[in-house]
Structures are given as structure tokens and as C-alpha cells.
């Protein structure tokens, strides 16, 4: 149904070259924001949106960007898009905007955005570039959400806490208490939990890869 190239782009983004587990790019938001599922998912989707539009726009104008100053041009485009996303979140999901704070503008400096623009979009057709950025973004979002879920369950014993920040007060009851009467393991919520969790996820991926190879 898809061409080989399209399929390669999809599997690269989601698994083979997963930005979170294989390229280990974009660690700053990954580690800082993944303390629960809602934060992780929101920032992951915001990053994916920026990546898709940034890669698309760069791919369109890739032949007229002077090679010598391409990086400043890329960063300007990305920064403009991030500002748009930031203002949009400020307007529509204000509570979430407060929680994510500085990490929304920091999407600009996230290596994975620039990496896909430089490595892929500046050389390939527009459609493929958008697909690649979307898949890479979703791959990163997947890792973020998994890590967020792990840390939230172990650290607080819940899932989807804070969902009302994203979807409004009517979502308050959607929080799932996974382990009732749980005291919480604070280390999972604090930064060490992010490092330990990411290490375990990378180990899990390598283990899967090895098993598949056998």
C-alpha cells in the first residue's frame, strides 16, 4: 500500500532510528517533562507539530537557502513556529501552558527538530520530509508517554493526573488510580527517576532488538 521508501521512513521514525531510544536526541524535555503522562503527551505533540511544519517549510524552500547560512535560517523558521505554538497554547490551554513553562519555547533548541531539518528535510522532497518529521515526532512522543506513564505509576500510583489542565474541568474524573492507597515513590517523579526510567527503556529496546535478530 505504501512505497518501500515511505515504509522505511515510518519504521525509522517509530522504531529503528527512534529519537528517544536510539539517537538519544531531545533529552532535555524528555527528562524534565516526563513526570506524568499528560505533560509528556502535550509536549510530545507540540514538538511533533513544530517538527512537521518546520521540516515541510524547509523542504519547500530547500533549493533557495544559501548553503553557508542554512543553520541560522532553519533556526529562525523553527523559532517562529515555536512562538506560534506557544501563543496558541497560551490562548487555549493556559493551565497546561503554565505547567510546561519554559519547555515550550525550549522546543526551538531541541536537537531533534534541527537534526531532522538538517539531515532530512534540507535534502528530500516535501511530502517525505513532513512524513519523516511526523514519524520522528511521534516516536519521541511515544517514548515520552511511556516514560511518563512509568514514572507516574511508580511515583504517584495514578495515570492521567492533571488531564483537566489540558481538557478542562470536565476531565477531572478521568484520572485513573492504578494503585489505590499508594504512598508514592518520590524518586520516580524527581530527576533520578527520569534517568533510571530512560535507561531501562533503552535496555528494553536493545533487548527486543537482540531477540528479533536471533
Amino acid at each position: 500500500m505504501f512505497s518501500q521508501e515511505t515504509r522505511d521512513i515510518i519504521t525509522n521514525g517509530l522504531w529503528k532510528q527512534n529519537p528517544g531510544l536510539v539517537q538519544i536526541l531531545g533529552m532535555c524535555p524528555l527528562l524534565a517533562i516526563s513526570s506524568n503522562v499528560v505533560n509528556a503527551l502535550s509536549l510530545g505533540l507540540a514538538t511533533t507539530l513544530v517538527m512537521a511544519i518546520a521540516s515541510g517549510s524547509v523542504a519547500v524552500i530547500r533549493n533557495i537557502i544559501p548553503h553557508e547560512i542554512r543553520i541560522p535560517v532553519f533556526v529562525l523558521i523553527i523559532a517562529a513556529l515555536v512562538t506560534v505554538v506557544e501563543l496558541a497554547m497560551h490562548a487555549w490551554v493556559h493551565a497546561l501552558y503554565i505547567v510546561l513553562g519554559v519547555f515550550i519555547p525550549l522546543i526551538t533548541t531541541n536537537c531533534i527538530v534541527l537534526a531532522r531539518v538538517e539531515a532530512f528535510a534540507s535534502k528530500r522532497a516535501t511530502g517525505h520530509s513532513v512524513l519523516d518529521a511526523t514519524m520522528m515526532g511521534l516516536g519521541l512522543t511515544g517514548v515520552l508517554v511511556t516514560l511518563g506513564a512509568l514514572r507516574e505509576i511508580v511515583g504517584k500510583g495514578t495515570l492521567l493526573s492533571g488531564i483537566d489542565l489540558a481538557l478542562g474541568p470536565m476531565a477531572k474524573d478521568w484520572v485513573i488510580p492504578v494503585i489505590p492507597d499508594y504512598h508514592g515513590l518520590l524518586i520516580a517523579i524527581l530527576p533520578p527517576g527520569a534517568f533510571i526510567g530512560l535507561g531501562l527503556l533503552i535496555a528494553w529496546r536493545n533487548w527486543m532488538q537482540e531477540r528479533r535478530a536471533r
Partner: protein, 345 residues
């Protein structure tokens, strides 16, 4: 790594070394039972059992033969050091989690004995104090502060049933270190603070004797050449010098060096924890730098940090620096002008 000759004989196998280390801990444990009640025996037993359980489980998972690795005793030393560093009479799952972080995370995830960059017992302690700051500040109170210490059955009951049948409040209190820190921050007078029953002649009441017993056991280890003098000496000197300087600057804010040496985990850390052959620096000069800075950091963290004791964090921080210290303190090799990095260039 230090140069050859490595002496391999029946007399210093890993098992024997570990047994000797355990034996050197006995005086400290006896003192602890005397002053704080038999709660420590419960936590030693629990940590030991959990540690063997985790070790066996992970060895099975990794497909490594059980017997040589379980019987080398290293996991028991880790478990005992962790138990001695943790408050007694805490709920059983606290020990379970601590041992999990020590054995599974700090030791086996890095490749097992000899591969771990961080001291396993201290990783267990750090994970717990970060996660459960409240439970980790409720230490068994010594005789003279509490009316009585719990007997063995009450200790078991407290650990397994929690506050179900007996209130743990009767038996627990903040440590001398903790009391000093919180009350100084409240602006109380130093003499008033030191007059409280939790303080003894040097460190905390009872705790100072326990610390002295660790000192005795540690000196036995040194005289048996299981550890060299460098690390304990530099660690204690680092603590004494830093605490002494702070004390001279403002005795109302900073406790005396004697207090710092004989309270908290200073003695246990100096002889038993910082000296861990896997995670400590291995060259003589490197050991002095490593342990001296660890002692310095201990006092700094105790004085300015938010956690009750600084030994664990100081040791872990210096563990990170060990490869660097070792690389720059290599002794001069015969036939070469310089040791260390310069010699290699």
C-alpha cells in the same frame, strides 16, 4: 587499578575478606543493640534476606551460576552496610526497596560485582532518603531519651505491622545531627541545644559509642591489612578540617569537629563505606584525594544541605570522580619520568 603483584591465596579470597569485614562490624552492632534496642537485628536480618533473594533472582535471570556469586558474601556486606545506614524500626518495605536499589539497580544493572561505579549500599540509602524523607528521619531513640527501647518482638511488630499495635513515636526521635540542624536554623542558642538529652559527650547519645565501636572495628580492618589507612584517615581528616574551620568561623552556627566525627554515618562511612574496593580510588595518592574531598563534602552537605546526613551523597559524588582521580594519580612507572596522564603522553 593498582599494579601487580596481586596476591591470590586461600587466605584472601573474596569470601574471607567479606567475612572479616562483617566480623569487624560486630562491635558496632552490639553497641547499637545496647543503646537502641534490638531493632537493628531485625533490619540486618531483613536486609540480608532481601539481598540474598534479589541476588539469587537476578543471577538466575542473567544465567550466571548461583553458588560462587552468592557464597562470596559481598551481597551480605552490602546488605549489612545498608541496614546500618538506615533507621531501625522502619516499615519492612523500606528495607525491601533500599535493597532493591542497592542490589538490582546499583550493582547488577551495571554488570555485577566489580563493575559498579557507585557504592551499592549508598545508592540504596540515597534512593530511600530522596523518596521517603519523613520515614528516614525517624530513628530509634537511645536509652535516656526514650523511656525504654523496644524488645525484639516489639521491634518485629513495628517493622511488619507498622503503627498497628504499638505507637512507634514512643521509640523514635530525630538524630542529634538533625536536631542540631533544625534548631540552629530556628535561632536557638548552641549551649541550649547541646544540653538536650539526645546529645552525649561527643556526638549523639549512644550513637557516639556506636561510632567508637565502628572506629575499633575499622582499625582492626586496617591492622589486618584489609584496607589501607589512606581512605579512613583522609575521610576523617577532611571532616575534622572542614568542620573545624566552620566551627572557628562561627561556633554558634556550626558544631564542633568532634561532634561531626562521632555523629551520623561518619565513622561507618570512613572505614566501611568509602573504602569499598570497587568504587573507591585505588592509587595511594588518589585515595587521599578521594576520601579527603568526600569528608569535606560530607560536612558541607550536613551544614548547608537539606538532608539529615551527607555521607551517602558525598561518597556517591566522589565515586563519579574516581576514574578521573585514578587516571591522574598513577604512580611513576620504573623507567618513566612521570606517573599518571603526563607519563602516558
Amino acid at each position: 587499578m593498582n599494579g601487580s603483584p596481586y596476591i591470590l591465596s586461600e587466605n584472601n579470597s573474596v569470601t574471607l575478606v567479606m567475612l572479616k569485614v562483617l566480623a569487624a562490624l560486630i562491635p558496632g552492632v552490639i553497641a547499637q543493640v545496647w543503646f537502641f534496642g534490638p531493632g537493628i537485628l531485625v533490619s540486618l536480618l531483613l536486609c540480608g534476606a532481601f539481598a540474598i533473594g534479589f541476588e539469587a533472582f537476578i543471577l538466575l535471570m542473567r544465567g550466571i551460576p548461583l553458588k560462587p556469586f552468592l557464597s562470596d558474601g559481598s551481597v551480605l556486606v552490602t546488605a549489612c552496610l545498608l541496614a546500618l545506614a538506615l533507621p531501625t524500626l522502619a516499615p519492612w518495605w523500606l528495607y525491601l526497596l533500599g535493597v532493591f536499589f542497592a542490589v538490582a539497580v546499583a550493582k547488577h544493572l551495571y554488570g555485577g560485582l566489580g563493575q559498579n561505579p557507585f557504592n551499592p549500599a549508598m545508592v540504596g540509602y540515597a534512593a530511600l532518603i530522596i523518596s521517603f524523607p519523613l520515614a528516614m528521619t525517624q530513628w530509634a531513640a537511645p536509652l535516656g531519651v526514650a523511656q525504654a527501647t523496644p524488645n525484639l518482638w516489639e521491634a518485629f511488630d513495628l517493622v511488619f505491622a507498622g503503627a498497628g499495635s504499638i505507637s512507634p513515636d514512643a521509640y523514635t526521635s530525630a538524630t542529634a545531627l538533625d536536631t542540631w540542624k533544625t534548631q540552629v536554623r530556628l535561632g536557638k542558642d548552641a549551649a541550649d541545644i547541646l544540653g538536650q538529652p539526645i546529645f552525649g559527650w561527643a556526638g549523639g547519645r549512644g550513637q557516639e559509642i556506636v561510632a567508637s565501636m565502628y572506629l575499633v572495628g575499622g582499625l582492626l580492618l586496617v591492622s589486618n591489612r584489609l584496607i589501607t589507612w589512606h581512605i579512613p584517615f583522609a575521610f576523617l581528616a577532611g571532616i575534622a578540617a572542614t568542620a573545624g574551620l566552620l566551627h572557628l568561623l562561627d561556633p554558634a552556627l556550626h558544631a564542633s569537629p568532634l561532634f561531626h566525627l562521632f555523629s551520623g554515618g561518619a565513622m561507618l562511612g570512613a572505614f566501611f563505606i568509602a573504602t569499598d574496593p570497587v568504587t573507591a580510588a585505588s592509587t595511594p595518592r588518589g585515595k587521599l584525594i578521594y576520601a579527603g574531598l568526600a569528608g569535606f563534602l560530607t560536612v558541607i552537605i550536613r551544614t548547608f544541605g537539606g538532608y539529615p546526613d551527607g555521607v551517602a551523597f558525598a561518597v556517591l559524588l566522589m565515586n563519579v570522580a574516581v576514574p578521573f582521580i585514578d587516571a591522574y594519580t598513577q604512580p611513576r612507572v620504573f623507567g618513566h619520568k612521570h606517573g599518571g596522564k603526563r607519563g602516558k603522553a
